[in-house]
Symmetry: C2
Subunit: 213 residues, 2 copies
DNA sequence: CCTCTTTTGTGATTTTTTTAACAATAACCG
DNA sequence: CGGTTATTGTTAAAAAAATCACAAAAGAGG
């Protein structure tokens, strides 16, 4: 009955992009105490068509039940598992500047199982400083720290000029994924996953659309 | 010779998404003193195929010259114009929390012509405080400020619970575009442009890809 | 326990996006 | 100043993504 969760079938990037959104809205529904939902209803809430939603979900398994719909809790948990946020993961952050500090202070991601384990910088004025319970370490310790502490995600919030160098060190130390806030497209081997938050690009796209209107 | 810059031909979202990247790499090339470049070469640098690059650019005009390629400076300026960053625009920011403060302090976008004109919050402890040259105003002043000061972009960095309310006020006051950092999909009329920076979604996508590998 | 209704999962179709191919055009060089 | 080469702009083909449509399955109600 259950579809092969085999990696052999490549999941389209467009589908991956929508997964977190499904997860977010399901969380809301769960908090509202909603028990079941149809693809039609969930699609309307999320802003995708019902068939698309069903097709997206079916890349990962058959989570629904004909004549009934989807159980909200079950689907929420299934998606969490698909995205790998059932088992917690540890992160390090390099670059305790503006955005870096904002991330350290907010730690919004901890409630989704992403723990910030240590933070690093090169600036001697910052090293040793405590920010929201974490002491800024010297970036020279980065490589050893990653290797010794089961870290699989690295957050890069350094200026463009040093982003690639930081990424290289993380990769050498065995990191699996990089969450990159530097306005740089990192050069990485294919087994290293990168997700970019190129904020300025977002603003430029907005500007284009505003002008277009 | 020049193609119609008519809005009648809808520009695909996929194309819009790539424009800022082209712009960024052209800026680099310009700084390196590069004078001309072929679609083949630029495509390799940016990471898109040469035909795609040409087709993308041709949505907006014929910027190249056969047998020569593209003049870097000319193309850079043309793209800047396409994206509407030739004329400066003024922004307001609401929500002087972690990310809000980071944006106010860095002001990375000012060098691209986006000026932060005023910042707002509801927290009495923050109102009156000066951050990087800007005094935090009470959010009750928001509507009048926007209406009176030629503001066309609003930055939302408030918690999810108040994001929609802030957006509503901005829209009522006549804003054109919203750069939204709240983990919420804002409900807006079709003439209002929204660009979301849903950071947590990025991290979840990364998690998925890391797990998949 | 049978019929009717709901709603999924999925194969077929349409639309969109990307890639390929090439004719047209301009620079370059002797 | 003409031939050769480079490279665009654009049309056509291929690939990818989204939508449609419907058979199959499960629940609900009598």
């Amino acid at each position: 009955m259950t579809k092969e969760t085999d990696e052999s079938i490549m999941v389209p990037a467009a589908v991956i992009k929508r997964l977190p959104k499904y997860h977010r809205y399901l969380e809301e529904l769960l908090n509202e105490g909603r028990e079941k939902i149809s693809s039609q209803q969930l699609g309307e809430i999320v802003g995708v068509s019902a068939p698309q939603l069903r097709q997206d979900l079916n890349y990962f398994g058959n989570f629904g039940q004909q004549g009934y719909g989807y159980n909200v809790k079950k689907l929420y948990n299934s998606l969490a598992e698909v995205m790998g946020i059932q088992q917690k993961s540890n992160m390090v952050l390099v670059g305790v500047g503006n955005i870096g500090q904002a991330l350290v202070n907010s730690r919004d991601f901890e409630k989704r199982g992403f723990y910030l384990s240590a933070i690093f910088d090169t600036n001697p004025k910052l090293i040793g400083l405590e920010i929201n319970g974490l002491v800024v370490k010297d970036v020279v310790e980065l490589k050893d720290y990653i290797a010794e502490n089961d870290i699989n995600i690295g957050v890069i919030t350094v200026p463009a000029s040093s982003a690639q160098e930081v990424a290289n060190q993380m990769i050498k130390a065995g990191i699996k994924g990089i969450w990159n806030f530097s306005p740089v497209d990192l050069k990485t081997p294919p087994n290293i996953q990168v997700e970019n938050e190129h904020l300025t690009e977002g603003l430029l796209r907005l500007s284009f659309k505003v002008k277009e209107e």
